[in-house]
Amino acid sequence: MLDELTTEVKASMGIYESDAEQVYGLLAEFSNPGELMHAAEATREKGYRHFDAHSPFPIHGMDRAMGLGNSKVGFFAFGGGVTGLATGYLLQWWTSAVDYPINISGKPFFAVEPSVPIMFELTILFAAFGAVAGMLALNGLPRPYNPLFYSDRFRRATDDGFFLHVAASDPQFDPETTAQDLRELGARHVELVQDDGSAEV
């Protein structure tokens, strides 16, 4: 139960488990963003869940094609913002009114008005850190090891290559039939990526 949950959470980050034969998945290359998007949509319609599209830039509409919901990063940013606001308030209140009150021109030891700038700045700062930390956490980054890096062809995914990766951990995955499916979707090139360091056509 817990193992399944971990697998699914990791799959949502794009981290998949290899199967018994060390097969990580199939990597199919498409010619352009349009074909990649249709291939992703068709792959989802066929019932695959553990797959991902790799492209040098975000493709508009791909989230919908892959059946992904809204990103959860916003919750992390909100949490960070609330933490920052509370930190800014408590820090100024505790240091100047509780721990070491100093009377300056008879002003109150603590008041909200002059505390607003620092409360504001810390809200923004913590929310920004929350957004980035949340993004990295949800993406499972940093991820130094990724079996996809064994594929030389995959290097173009950050230049001008458009790839669809169907992971071996998907219940429907079968090296032969899935490769056939991907070719039918118009893949220019399909290769099997293995966790032991090989990528073959």
């Binding site: 249709h38 068709a42 975000p58 820090l91 957004a131 230049d159 001008d160």
Partner: protein
């Protein structure tokens, strides 16, 4: 099973799909492919370092070394080596601080505010402008740090528990400034770095050199361009833009509080926050134009940073310059309308007193000179915009000089009136700060992709998935759904069979 309406929500991509989409001029010129864009930008970090770079770096780093020596001299001897003295306690250090912080506003403005306004032309310049922001803020932070006199006690400005059991005075605008500028620096740094990750991955995947690949792999965090990652990445980027927008407006507002919260005639005005922010954008854009005009020429980026990009920046310079000029005039009106004798004197003294020369340099550089940009011909001319961008930054330095010095040099006690003059240490420290700025900028140009490769690719028409379906090879308008209904795809023989699916989508 495959009903996309259940699972889909709004995408975060800020691509505008207006009705006029088809009529839009392409942002990137020269009919480049995705690979060409990578090549144009990445090759400058991969080629052998040109001799000219070494020459420029030698000059810049010598100047930076001079800054270090001047600061060491100042720390050894005390603040007295600067021209600051009563009644002008805030001399050049504060002028230079505000000047550099102001320049540091353009980068995040371009990254954040123009992103929210869906100004897609920003993608060509945002990387360099953000780098410029970071370096300018670093230069800015040097001045107040050393202006405190005892630089070894600068940590007292931070709420760090210490043996005195004392805390910073949070009611002071100077402390707000510490928080505002350092938060700004950190958020800008994070924003810049997150934008860099996909491009560092591009560089990583292009190199075969062992050490270079390892370093790039470390900083690119294992990025593979996965859509599951892009999804969270774009959301985080949007949120950062939304957070940085109020931040960028707040930073110079807080800087202006350093002045406005005091009771000094000439400083104590409510117009300061918006007027400082407009001035900051004005000077920052001028600095971006100065740097981009040089960089696009030397690095052959004319197709990415086109004359249209520069023209748009010049329009922003015109608008903000006019706002700033309007604020100068409003200040005079407010002084007259307040009926306060000291306030009125402070302003008359500014324009016609001993510092009238500085005041009129400011007026002619900031209000009058940008008006040339009303002419389309002039704002598209490289020599004109280059000269003007430098004139604007001279003017903006003088604006801070006028505000700081003229308000202080004649205080309420005429016996203490004086005429402020900088010392050679003041001048060489300021020149040295340019050395630091250019040293850092040259390192950036050498080692980091200076244009956001992934973002530029994203605004090319070829990046739109519908580019390949509409037949005319142009992006789709607003009326085309992102997912074509399955029936419509039957004319695509290679995919038609699988696209029928079990049930129609959409």
């Amino acid at each position: 099973m495959a009903n996309s309406d259940d699972t889909s929500t709004a995408t975060t991509d800020p691509t505008p799909d207006g009705a006029d989409f088809h009529d839009r001029e392409p942002l990137i010129k020269g009919n480049l492919s995705f690979h060409d864009v990578t090549e144009i930008v990445a090759k400058h970090t991969e080629k052998q370092t040109p001799l000219a770079w070494y020459l420029a770096f030698t000059v810049a780093s010598s100047m930076a070394l001079m800054l270090v020596l001047m600061l060491a001299y100042q720390v050894w001897n005390g603040v007295g080596v600067w021209g600051n003295n009563q009644p002008v306690g805030w001399g050049w250090p504060i002028v230079n601080f505000v000047f550099w912080v102001g320049i540091g506003h353009a980068g995040t403005l371009i990254s954040a505010i123009l992103f929210l306004f869906r100004q897609r032309w920003r993608t060509s310049i945002n990387r360099a402008a953000e780098a410029m922001t970071l370096f300018a803020v670093m230069c800015a932070l040097i001045f107040p740090t050393f202006h405190v006199g005892r630089v070894w006690a600068i940590y007292w400005t931070l709420p760090i528990p210490n043996q005195m059991e004392m805390w910073p005075q949070f009611k002071s605008p100077l402390l707000w400034d510490v928080f505002a500028v350092s938060s700004y620096f950190l958020v800008s740094l994070v924003f810049w770095y997150i934008g860099l990750v996909p491009d560092l991955a591009t560089l990583r995947d292009r190199t075969n050199k062992f050490f270079r690949q390892k370093v790039l792999a470390f900083f690119s965090l294992g990025w593979t361009g996965a859509n599951r990652h892009w999804r969270n990445y774009e959301k985080a980027y949007l949120l950062l833009a939304g957070l940085a927008t109020p931040l960028v407006l707040s930073v110079h507002s807080v800087v202006s509080f350093d002045f406005a919260v005091s009771v000094l005639p000439g400083w104590h005005t409510t117009i300061f926050p918006p007027y400082f922010v407009a001035g900051a954008i004005f000077s920052g854009f001028a600095m971006v134009v100065t740097l981009m005009v040089i960089a696009r020429k030397i690095y052959g980026l004319e197709n990415l940073i086109t004359i249209d990009h520069l023209e748009k920046m010049n329009i922003i310079i015109l608008v903000t310059g006019t706002i700033v000029g309007f604020a100068y005039i409003t200040e005079f009106f407010m002084a007259w309308y307040s009926g306060v004798e000291y306030e009125q004197y402070a302003f008359l003294n500014r324009a016609f007193g001993p510092y009238a020369w500085a005041y009129w340099i400011m007026m002619s550089c900031n209000l009058i000179s940008p008006q040339l940009f009303w002419s389309k011909k002039l704002r598209r001319s490289i020599p004109v915009m280059f000269t003007l961008s430098i004139v604007v930054n001279i003017g903006m330095w003088f604006e801070r000089f006028v505000i700081t010095i003229t308000s202080l040099h004649r205080d309420f006690l005429p016996s203490s009136w004086g005429y402020f003059e900088p010392t050679w240490v003041d001048i060489l420290t300021f020149v040295g700060s340019f050395g630091l700025f250019f040293t850092l900028f040259l390192l950036f140009l050498r080692f980091v992709p200076m244009v956001a490769i992934a973002e530029v690719k994203g605004v090319m028409p070829e990046a739109d998935p519908h580019f390949y379906e509409e037949g005319d090879g142009r992006p789709a308008g607003a009326n085309v759904p992102y997912i074509q209904p399955a029936e419509e795809a039957s004319d695509r023989p290679e995919t038609g069979e699988t696209r029928r699916g079990t049930e129609p989508t959409g």
